[in-house]
């Protein structure tokens, strides 16, 4: 399944076409590569993006943003802007300050966390380039943009602080009232770490940097508000991943009663965490529409979004890994600094905490300690970006495993084998307190090694090293797992998260036997309409094409917790499955009545209820649906409907895993890195739609590889975003990425009835360390033990010529004792 073969596609298209016509068999949809129901409108231009919406009398909003990273606002005068052609209104932050409260952070990770007020429009100070200072409303978008220049804002400049370690010195305060730039410190440990390190033969110590990334969903964010002024009712359309959470929280921010606010996420073009938030523009648009009694729209430009939509990653990781001389892990110390940016957005402080549990990864060790300090800087706020905390953790442990292997002179796969949890040991409680329900790391690794040609590539690497080939070969390994499927509500509560992790689904059997599934998940590219149809069709015994799925509108799906954290299938999909089972349970009672049989004697298979022993006497699910609609002859006490609902709260996280192997060719003369082959064997449990799963893996790999090789949000010392457009921020195109070889092992999850695991973030989590391990492996014999991400030609070249991490001193000693080859954080280049 490594590559789509056009011939195979043709056969599959013919085959699935037949299946979708008359497929009534149980379990015949789940597991099949059903073509997506979503595609027809997407390939013909009939989608409904938020920016498409045109309403009568609609106005357009534009936002004046700070050009300075840090400054006191001394004056905002919007009077000239109001005189501009087409302008209807203009407001400063002070003008709207009574209309709303600050924007919410839903994750107070510690009791003493500094949670500064975050007004949608700044009134006292601006704290990052892009902070909103005023808003203009005009009859069209061009007029609104023109009028921005007429808003007169006077600033008293203050020094920027862009580096976390500098910020922690508190010489420049981002939030004066807090008295510190330290947001929180969150400690966590398991086992006796000092004892483990005292017993160690080897301790490997490193500092790794997780550069700042910009998620870059390809659809810009957009907001439309439609007020019904007389009734004080509002509809908010937003390009969001979280219509339900947004409704609750933005109702609180604006004072609009929740039941008077409908939130719609129309077609949404990608998210990757960047649309998992309650944004200033959503609140501003609501309160301005409320004031004016007119519908209005705001759509970000790409450059505006690069400043005003959240960024991701941005951590400094200080790591120490202790082991015995024969390569048994003893303990792991993790000390993080995580850049919050200027304010806390929805889950900003929780992102590194999600990673806290994953640093021990798939390995057995006696002790683990973790500490994370969140730091305010004068930069765009960070928040969840694909993987959210787990890519950082996986990078750290997988890079450290390769460093330890090098220290011990051991094959990095062999080192992993000696330490990973074996398949007989599940369920397994880790040193971080998680219980992994299932997995088979041996099987995935064996399959990956074989597909990759590991032994042959090692032989070639040896030959190239010996011959002094200017193009060196490197092999990188990542044997990852991750925790996703957010999440058991009780666990979220114990982590001080502000909400639960359940998900709701409803099934509505229509009189004709067609089915409407209503889901609380909110897809933006993942194909839920197709996958949920597959799940429901199998349980209900109806054709795949007889199921439709409704989502993304709080007036349609009244209850839900939306899509993020690879949760939709393992929580929302299970809710669909269980809700469908409830329909069958009730339909069976009614069918028994219709068949004049005892309910205990009625069986259901292939969409048909029949009496045991008399298969000819039967009623289809469609017969029952119509009989329920007529309701002429219902059993006593049974209500005439075949609707059901399930709110599913998982008992555990989902733990997909896999083994990724990457071979790179590094040109030692130019520093250019080319990926020669990439093998990903993932275990995401039982698969509902293998075509969609493979697509999720591909996209995840692309984003993880992009972190390793291409992308970095760069700020200058004055706090200007240097990579402020797609010209400067390197999102990879087709020529930049390799052909992936993907395969799967299938170890069903035991924590849900379908045996499924999350897949949305796995590729991103796994791939970054695989690539960087490969780059370092190619150059290790030249004295290189780290290359800072992204591994650009310049950084690679510098690493070769200076040794070490491409940004500091090379490794001084190679003896198996404490080595301190840290890449020193200087100014951000």
């Amino acid at each position: 399944m490594s590559k789509i073969d056009p011939e195979a596609v043709a056969e599959q298209a013919a085959e699935t076409g037949q299946l979708s016509e008359g497929d009534e068999g149980t379990d015949r949809n789940v597991g099949a590569p059903r073509p997506r129901k979503e595609d027809a409108k997407l390939i013909t231009g009939q989608t409904n993006w938020t920016d498409n919406i045109q309403l009568p009398g609609m106005l357009h909003m534009a936002i004046v943003r700070s050009p300075m990273a840090h400054a006191r606002i001394t004056r905002v005068d919007v009077s000239a802007a109001k005189q501009q052609p087409g302008v209807v209104a203009a407001y400063s932050g002070a003008d709207l300050a009574d209309e709303y409260t600050g924007l919410p952070c839903a994750w107070p990770v510690t009791a003493d966390m500094v949670s500064p007020t975050h007004l949608p429009i700044a009134t006292d100070k601006v704290r990052y380039v892009g902070d909103a200072v005023a808003v203009v409303v005009a009859r069209d978008r061009y007029a609104a943009a023109d009028a921005l220049e007429s808003v007169d804002v006077e600033y008293e400049p203050l020094p920027a602080v862009v580096d976390m370690e500098q910020a922690l010195r508190d010489e420049v305060l981002v939030h004066d009232d807090a008295g510190t730039n330290r947001c929180f410190t969150w400690p966590f440990s398991g086992g006796d770490v000092e004892q483990a390190f005292a017993e160690a033969d080897v301790v490997v110590k490193r500092r790794f940097l997780q550069q700042r990334l910009i998620p870059t969903a390809i659809e810009p964010r957009a907001v439309v508000v439609a007020p019904i002024a007389a009734a004080d009712e509002y509809t908010l359309y937003s390009a969001t991943q979280i219509p339900h959470i947004l409704r609750l929280l933005v109702a609180g921010v604006t004072g609009i009663p929740e039941h008077k606010l409908r939130v719609v996420a129309p077609d949404v073009g990608g998210g990757f965490g960047s649309k998992l938030n309650v944004y200033a523009e959503e609140a501003i648009a609501l309160v301005v529409a409320r004031r004016l009694g007119r519908p209005l729209k705001w759509t970000e430009s790409r450059s505006e979004g690069y400043q005003a939509t959240i960024h991701g990653r941005d951590q400094i990781q200080d790591l120490e890994l202790a082991a015995t001389g024969d390569g048994r892990l003893l303990g792991f110390k993790v000390d993080l600094k995580a850049d919050m940016g200027a304010y806390l957005q929805l889950v900003t402080p929780g992102v590194p905490i999600l990673g806290a549990f994953m640093f021990p990864a798939i390995y057995k060790m006696d002790a683990y300690s973790f500490s994370c300090t969140g730091v305010f800087t004068t930069k765009t706020p960070t928040d969840a970006y694909r993987g959210a905390g787990r890519p950082e953790a996986t990078f750290a442990i997988e890079r450290m495993m390769d460093e330890l292997a090098a220290e011990l002179g051991m094959d990095p796969i062999e080192l992993r084998r000696r330490n990973w949890i074996t398949h007989e040991e599940f369920p397994y409680e880790t040193v971080a307190g998680l219980t992994y329900d299932s997995g088979n790391y041996e099987a995935a690794t064996d399959k990956a090694e074989s597909a990759f040609g590991y032994a042959e590539l090692r032989a070639e690497q040896k030959q190239r090293r010996e011959s002094g080939d200017p193009v060196q070969l490197g092999i990188g390994i990542s044997t990852y797992t991750e925790m996703c499927g957010l999440a058991p509500s009780r666990v979220l509560g114990s982590l001080s998260y502000g909400a639960g992790g359940w998900e709701t689904a409803s099934i509505r059997m229509l009189p004709s036997g067609k089915v409407e599934v209503v889901t609380g998940t909110s897809p933006h590219g993942q194909g839920h309409v197709t996958s949920w149809s597959q799940i429901a069709a199998d349980v209900l015994g109806v054709p795949f094409d007889d199921v439709d799925v409704r989502h993304g509108d709080t007036a349609v799906a009244h209850s839900g917790l939306d899509s993020y954290g690879s949760r939709s299938l393992v929580v929302g999909g299970i809710a669909v499955h269980k809700a469908a089972e409830r329909v069958i349970e009730k339909a069976k009672r009614i069918a028994a009545h219709m068949l004049e049989a005892d309910e205990g004697d009625v069986e259901f298979a292939d969409g048909r209820f029949s009496v045991r022993g008399s298969p000819d006497v039967s009623k289809t699910i469609q017969d029952v649906a119509l009989a329920v609609f007529a309701a002429h002859d219902m059993p006593d006490g049974v209500e005439p409907n075949l609707d059901s609902e399930c709110t599913f709260d998982p008992e555990n996280f989902s733990f997909p895993h896999g083994t990724h192997l990457c071979a790179v060719e590094v040109d030692t003369e130019t520093g250019h890195v080319g990926i020669r082959s990439y093998v990903a064997v993932d275990d995401v449990g039982r698969v509902v739609n293998p075509m969609i799963v493979e697509g999720q893996v591909h996209g995840g790999l692309a984003q993880g590889i992009a972190q390793a090789l291409f992308e970095e949000a760069v700020y200058d010392p004055d706090g200007n975003l240097v990579t402020g457009s797609l010209v400067d921020y390197y999102v990879p195109g087709a020529p930049d990425l390799p052909e992936f070889t993907t395969d799967r092992t299938e170890t069903p999850a035991t924590s849900n009835p379908l045996g499924v695991k999350g897949v949305g973030e796995a590729g991103t989590i796994a791939s970054t360390p695989a690539v960087v391990n490969a780059v370092v492996d190619a150059l290790r014999h030249l004295g290189v033990d780290d290359v800072r991400m992204p591994c650009s030609p310049e950084r690679v070249w510098r690493a070769i010529h200076r040794g070490g991490g491409g940004n500091g001193d090379g490794r001084a000693a190679s003896a198996a004792q404490v080595t301190t080859s840290q890449s020193v954080v200087g100014g951000r280049q």
Binding site: A40, T44, G525
Partner: protein, 168 residues
């Protein structure tokens, strides 16, 4: 400042004449989306990098966010809405993208469909390198491109089989 001077012109989109009255600076992408109401053309960056807004001008792919509507006067514009046949039958490229799962969120997709339609009209059987090069001006954040590359090869095969017309 006085109101902007408006230019009355006719834009021919997918063979249909659309009279519009627009200021000189109105981007073609905005005219298509908001003046004419053909919202299948998407705007992803407005600085000519992402390729979401690609349309065909006399059969050649152009970025409609980098072009003024007034400059499109007298040209034949084709958008994603014009790819399917009169009875709604999908063209080869549209079919291939669906069959090969060449799209996820779909926001970049119309731009890719237009680029690839033009690519295959010019080169009906591109090599792997020619495909990768041919789509290098369009960004996708969801797919990792592998299935898009497969879609292009599949579309070429469909066209060779005569199963799809390389419209326009």
């Amino acid at each position: 400042m006085s109101a902007e001077h408006l230019h009355d012109l006719t834009l021919t989109v997918n063979g249909v004449p659309h009279p519009v009255s627009v200021p000189a600076r109105r981007l073609l992408s905005d005219a298509l989306r908001h003046d004419i109401g053909l919202t299948g053309t998407h705007v992803g960056c407005e600085h000519g990098v992402c390729g979401c807004c690609t349309v065909l001008l006399d059969g050649q792919p152009v970025r409609s966010c980098l072009m003024f509507a007034v400059s499109a006067r007298g040209h034949e514009i084709t958008t994603v809405e014009g790819l399917a046949g009169p009875g709604g039958e999908l063209n080869a490229v549209q079919r291939a993208f669906q069959e090969c799962h060449g799209l996820q969120c779909g926001f970049c997709t119309p731009g890719f469909l237009m680029t690839v339609t033009a690519l295959l009209a010019e080169n009906p059987s591109p090599t792997e390198d020619e495909v990768v090069e041919g789509i290098s001006g369009n960004l996708c954040r969801c797919t990792g491109y592998q299935n898009i590359v497969a879609s292009v090869h599949r579309a070429a095969a469909l066209m060779t089989d005569g199963a799809g017309e390389p419209r326009p």
